[in-house]
């Protein structure tokens, strides 16, 4: 138990901050994922074949390639890409991108591909009559989307988005390869310096279980809230 003490003697406080870091990266990644979904879901549903093709390539490639490979691409390629853009503006010094941003972006792109599929499925399963009724009521495009379609989409999407959240949360453990100190990285450091990997990795597993358990409870509440009236 003294291994988990707070302060200089134990790893309790380090692991606590690492857990907060995991939560922060997961939420940031999920938000970036929503942004991607916001861009690619309309492209997927559009009548234009070219736009369709772009959105389909995005979801197919990301969902068919291992997360770790995507993270390596961003980890090794991110700096180069940013420096290339900076060099266009005449800045030639070495730029190092923060591990948090690289990690959240890489996981965000992955999570975005899954979210896109969820939103596409949800919108497609909304009854056609709802769209027609909105038209008949004379709502404009924004009113139609925000007042009629979005609330119903959310209700249908939340159970599946909760799966995406679980995947995203677990994927953040892979960012540890880039050196960002989240649960996995902190356990690795602690295991290395105390020579007690069994304890620290098992404790990491418990922390992840706790995170998934608590978030499931919270999402269930949200689900109840959005299915009022059904």
């Amino acid at each position: 138990m003294e291994l988990l003490a707070f302060g200089d003697t134990g790893w309790g406080d380090e692991l606590f901050y690492a857990t907060l870091m995991t939560i922060a990266v997961s939420i940031t990644a999920m938000m970036i994922g929503f942004l991607f979904a916001l861009i690619f879901t309309p492209l997927k549903l559009s009548q234009n074949k070219f736009l369709n093709f772009i959105a389909n390539s995005y979801t197919t490639i990301i969902r068919g390639v291992p997360e770790l490979l995507v993270i390596y691409l961003f980890f090794f390629g991110g700096t180069g890409a940013v420096m290339f853009v900076a060099s266009i503006f005449g800045y030639n010094e070495y730029i190092e991108i923060n591990a948090f941003i690289t990690g959240a972006f890489a996981i965000g792109i992955i999570s975005g591909a899954y979210s896109t599929e969820v939103f596409r499925g949800a919108i497609q399963s909304i009854d056609k009559g709802q769209f027609e009724a909105a038209n008949v009521l004379g709502l404009n495009k924004f009113g139609k989307f925000f007042k009629i379609i979005l609330p119903q989409t959310l209700r249908l999407a939340i159970p599946n988005l909760s799966n995406v959240w679980q995947i995203t949360l677990k994927d953040t453990s892979l960012i540890s390869v880039t050196g960002l100190v989240e649960i996995m990285r902190q356990s690795y450091i602690a295991a290395g310096s105390t020579r007690d990997p069994l304890f620290f990795y098992s404790f990491a597993a418990v922390l992840y279980l706790l995170l998934t358990f608590v978030s499931m409870k919270l999402i269930n509440r949200l689900e109840v809230k959005y299915s009022r009236g059904y």
Partner: protein, 224 residues
């Protein structure tokens, strides 16, 4: 774009893809048995057996695969007792540690898939079997299992693809699978995009093949 690098790294990555496929197939086969075993436990009426099977799938689905690999590869070696048993022959090899972790992980997901397949079998089919005087054992092996396999094919296909992506984590315990070799080439040449295109292309090709095989099987075993 460094086309030369893409061409020269292609054979190395293909060789590495063979290791990925080996890891995948061995862990899927072991995982299928684990999954079937736990799915049957889940259907058991005894609450302790039932909870035990549920706990297994909950823990393995609720924690990242990376943690599971690290516990097995780094953690188990710490137990002195294990080092003196025959098991150590297996557990000191990163290859087998990775396979054990993958098999246990996919076993947890497979057990959920099979459980829901068993539960959706229509009662009438089982009753028909009983009224024909077929024994419970034969009903289980000849009626329930084939129907459950057919029901679970689409979900299991997804699981195979997820597991194929999961095998990339073998590279974190020194195995040179497709991702491991890709990372090695990237870190020696600093050409991430080129290597990503080739390695990602190979992964996509494998995903595509798995997808088509499952689709073919679905068609072949469809009820109509």
């Amino acid at each position: 774009m460094d086309l030369e690098l893409m061409i020269s790294s292609f054979p190395k990555l293909i060789n590495a893809a063979v290791i990925t496929l080996k890891l995948l197939s061995v862990s899927l086969i072991i995982g299928l048995f684990i999954g079937l075993f736990f799915a049957i436990l889940r259907l058991n009426k005894n609450i302790f057996i039932n909870k035990f099977a549920y706990g297994y799938s909950y823990v393995f689905r609720g924690t990242p695969l990376l943690v599971q690999i690290f516990i097995i590869y780094f953690g188990l070696g710490q137990i002195e007792y294990l080092r003196s048993t025959v098991l150590w022959v297996i557990l000191k090899e990163p290859y087998w540690c990775a396979i054990i972790a993958f098999a246990l992980n996919t076993g947890a997901y497979t057990s959920e898939i099979l459980r829901s397949a068993f539960q959706t079998i229509k009662r009438g089919i089982l009753e028909a079997g009983k009224s024909l005087g077929i024994s419970n054992k034969v009903i289980f092996y000849k009626i329930q299992i084939p129907i459950a396999i057919r029901q679970s094919l689409p979900a299991y296909g997804n699981e195979i693809i997820l597991m194929m992506k999961g095998t990339s984590l073998a590279s974190t315990v020194t195995l040179m699978d497709l991702t491991g070799v890709a990372k090695y080439i990237i870190s020696t040449t600093f050409k991430p995009i080129e290597v990503f295109i080739v390695a990602g292309g190979i992964y996509l090709f494998m995903t595509f093949m798995i997808h088509n095989v499952i689709k073919f099987l679905e068609k072949k075993y469809s009820f109509n």
